[in-house]
C-alpha cells in the first residue's frame, strides 16, 4: 500500500500550513487520533486555496497533500467530480482497478487504490477530503452548496 507516490507526498507535502481562508474546519478520526485543521478560499467558483495543518499517519498526510495539488485552481464542479472519484476509489475495497479515465481525473491520487483494501486506513485517506467538503459547504453557505449539488 505504501506506493512511492504516497511516500513522496508524505515526505514533501504540498501546500501545508494554514493561510487565509473563507472557512475553517477541524476534523478528527477518533479511532486513531488523526486530526486536521483545514481552510478553503474561493474566488467565485474557483478553488483558490486549500491550506491545512494536522497530525496523522503517512496516508492521511499524503492524502491532504494530494488534495491540495489536485483541487487548487480547479472550478468547483470539477473539484467535486474529483472528490467523488476519490471517494469511489476508496470505498472500492480493493475491487476497483483504476482505468485511464479515472487516472486522468485522479492523477497521483490513484496511488491510493491499494489503501482501499485496508478498512482501518480508508478513514485516514478520507480525513482531509471530508474536511474539504465540509469547509466548502460552510464557505459557500449550506444552502448554496446544496443547490449546486442538486
Amino acid at each position: 500500500m505504501y506506493q512511492d507516490v504516497i511516500l513522496d507526498h508524505y515526505k514533501h507535502p504540498h501546500g501545508r500550513g494554514l493561510r487565509d481562508g473563507d472557512a475553517e474546519v477541524h476534523h478528527v478520526n477518533p479511532t486513531c487520533g488523526d486530526e486536521i485543521t483545514l481552510r478553503v478560499r474561493y474566488e467565485g467558483e474557483t478553488v483558490a486555496d486549500v491550506s491545512y495543518e494536522g497530525q496523522g499517519c503517512s496516508i492521511s498526510q499524503a492524502s491532504a497533500s494530494v488534495l491540495n495539488e489536485l483541487l487548487v485552481g480547479k472550478e468547483l464542479d470539477e473539484a467535486r467530480r474529483i472528490q467523488d472519484a476519490f471517494l469511489e476509489l476508496m470505498q472500492s475495497k480493493g475491487q476497483l482497478e483504476p482505468d485511464d479515465a479515472m487516472e486522468e481525473v485522479l492523477e497521483d491520487a490513484v496511488a491510493f487504490a491499494g489503501v482501499s483494501k485496508y478498512p482501518a486506513r480508508v478513514k485516514c485517506a478520507l480525513l482531509s477530503w471530508m474536511a474539504w467538503k465540509d469547509a466548502t459547504a460552510q464557505a459557500l453557505g449550506e444552502g448554496a452548496a446544496k443547490e449546486r449539488t442538486a
Binding site: P30, Y118, P119, A120
Partner: protein, 422 residues
C-alpha cells in the same frame, strides 16, 4: 405410538434437518432417545453455527474496530458482516439500526434506560405512563417496573381474555395521551399467542407513544420484518434462533438511536474522551460499550444464514402444521387443559397445559425419565399463572427439527404420567 402426523402438509424434512444438530442424537437416562421440546427456553445449534464459532476462534480471533493488523481486520469484517446479515434478516432499513447486546433482556433494559435518561419528548417521568401487558416475560416487566419506580411514571397494562388473548377492549383507556411507551410481546412464550401488533401500533402512534416489540419468540419462528411491524424498537435473542448464548439484538429506528442517550459507557462506544467530558460514536456503536460478543455475533450470523437457507416461511409453515397436530392430539388427553389459545390460529408452536391436578414438576419429571424434555414452572411469566389461577404449567415447544413422532411421544408420555399419579 401412532404416526398419524406423517402426512401433514407443510412439514419440513426433519430427518435431514436433524442431521445438522449433533445434540439431537444424544441418548439420556441410559438409552432413552432425546425428545427435545423445550425450544421456547432455548433452541439447539446446528453444526454450521458451531463451525462458525470454532472457525472464528481458530483463524480470525482479535479485538474489533481498532486494529491495523490482519486478524483485527478480519475479526472486524466478520463482526460487522454479522450485523449486515441480521439487518437483512429483519429487513432493517439500515445496518446501523442493529445493536448487538448480550440477550433480549439487555435489549429491553437498554430501551427502558434510554427513555429514562432521554430529553423531551421521549423522557419517561412523573405524570407519564408506560404500557405493557399481562402476558409479558419478566424481562419485559421488571425493566419497566424499575423505570416506573425510579422516575415516578405510572405502569399500566392490558389484561388477558379467558382464551389467552390480549384484552384490547379498553385500548383507548389504557393507551392515552400520557403514554410515552408501549412495550409488548409479539408471540407469548407461555401462551403461544400471536398478538395483533398492528392494532396496538396504530393506537400508540395516534397518541405519539413509542412502541417496543419483544420479538424473542417471533424472530426464531417466522419472517420478521421490522418495517412492516412499524414499531420503534424490536428486541430478540440469539440463543432461541439456533445462535449461541451471549448475544441479543436491539433494532431501533435510526433517528431515535441518534437522539437517545447512551446506556453503558466504555470503550468502543465513544468518539473522543477526555477526563472532563466525552462524546459518543454514532449508533449502533454508541450502544455497544466494551468488547462486544464478537464470536457470538459471528455465530448468530451463521444461524441467520442457516434459517434463511431453509426459509422462514417454510419454518413457520412447518411449525404451524405441527402445532395444529399437537393441539388436536393434546385435546384428546383426559384432564388436559391448554392454557392459551386452543386452536392453531394466531398461535406459535408453544403449548402450555395443566394435567388434572398433577403438579407440572411431576409431569416434567416423569416425561424426562422417558427422554422427553419439556419445561415446567411459570416460564418467567408469573402474572399469566396468577391470571389463570394456576401455580405453574407444563410447556412443550417445537422448532424446525421437531416432528409429529415427537408429538406422539409426548402424548404417550402424558399417558404414562396419568397412570403413574392416577
Amino acid at each position: 405410538m401412532t404416526d398419524s402426523g406423517r402426512g401433514l402438509p407443510g412439514l419440513l424434512d426433519t430427518e435431514a434437518i436433524r442431521k445438522d444438530f449433533p445434540i439431537l442424537d444424544r441418548a439420556v437416562h441410559d438409552g432413552a432417545k432425546l425428545v427435545y421440546l423445550d425450544n421456547a427456553a432455548t433452541s439447539q445449534k446446528p453444526r454450521q453455527v458451531l463451525d462458525a464459532l470454532s472457525g472464528y476462534y481458530e483463524r480470525h480471533n482479535a479485538n474489533v474496530h481498532r486494529g491495523v493488523h490482519v486478524l483485527a481486520e478480519e475479526a472486524t469484517a466478520l463482526y460487522e458482516g454479522a450485523r449486515d446479515k441480521v439487518a437483512a434478516f429483519i429487513n432493517a432499513p439500515s445496518r446501523d439500526e442493529v445493536v448487538f447486546t448480550k440477550n433480549a433482556s439487555e435489549s429491553l433494559n437498554l430501551v427502558a434506560n434510554m427513555l429514562g435518561w432521554a430529553d423531551e419528548p421521549y423522557r419517561v417521568e412523573r405524570d407519564t405512563e408506560i404500557v405493557i401487558t399481562e402476558m409479558e416475560h419478566h424481562s419485559n416487566i421488571v425493566p419497566w417496573q424499575l423505570l416506573a419506580q425510579r422516575t415516578g411514571a405510572k405502569l399500566k397494562w392490558f389484561g388477558l381474555t379467558d382464551d389467552g388473548r390480549l384484552d384490547l377492549s379498553n385500548i383507548d383507556e389504557v393507551i392515552t395521551e400520557k403514554t410515552k411507551v408501549v412495550s409488548f410481546v409479539q408471540v407469548s412464550n407461555i401462551l403461544g399467542t400471536v398478538n395483533p401488533v398492528e392494532e396496538i401500533v396504530r393506537r400508540a402512534q395516534d397518541v405519539g407513544a413509542l412502541v417496543v416489540v419483544d420479538a424473542s419468540q417471533a424472530a426464531p419462528h417466522m419472517a420478521l420484518d421490522v418495517q412492516a411491524l412499524q414499531a420503534d424498537f424490536v428486541a430478540f435473542t440469539g440463543h432461541k434462533m439456533c445462535g449461541p448464548t451471549g448475544i441479543g439484538v436491539l433494532w431501533g429506528r435510526k433517528g431515535l438511536l441518534d437522539d437517545l442517550p447512551p446506556f453503558l459507557g466504555g470503550g468502543e462506544m465513544i468518539e473522543t474522551v477526555s477526563m472532563h467530558s466525552s462524546t459518543y460514536a454514532p449508533a449502533p456503536h454508541k450502544f455497544e460499550a466494551g468488547t462486544p460478543p464478537i464470536a457470538q455475533a459471528v455465530g448468530l450470523g451463521a444461524a441467520v444464514d442457516y434459517l434463511s437457507a431453509i426459509g422462514m416461511d417454510r419454518v413457520q409453515a412447518h411449525e404451524h402444521a405441527l402445532t395444529e397436530y399437537a393441539v388436536g392430539r393434546l385435546r384428546e388427553v383426559p384432564d388436559l387443559r391448554i392454557i392459551g389459545p386452543v386452536t392453531g390460529e394466531n398461535r406459535g408452536a408453544t403449548i402450555s397445559f395443566t394435567l388434572g391436578d398433577i403438579h407440572p414438576h411431576d409431569v416434567g419429571q416423569v416425561l424426562d425419565e422417558q427422554g422427553i424434555a419439556v419445561r415446567v414452572g411459570h416460564h418467567c411469566a408469573r402474572p399469566v399463572c396468577l391470571r389463570y389461577g394456576i401455580p405453574a404449567t407444563t410447556r412443550a415447544s417445537f422448532y424446525l427439527y421437531s416432528s409429529p413422532a415427537e408429538v406422539d411421544a409426548l402424548v404417550d408420555g402424558l399417558e404414562q404420567v396419568r397412570n403413574f399419579f392416577g
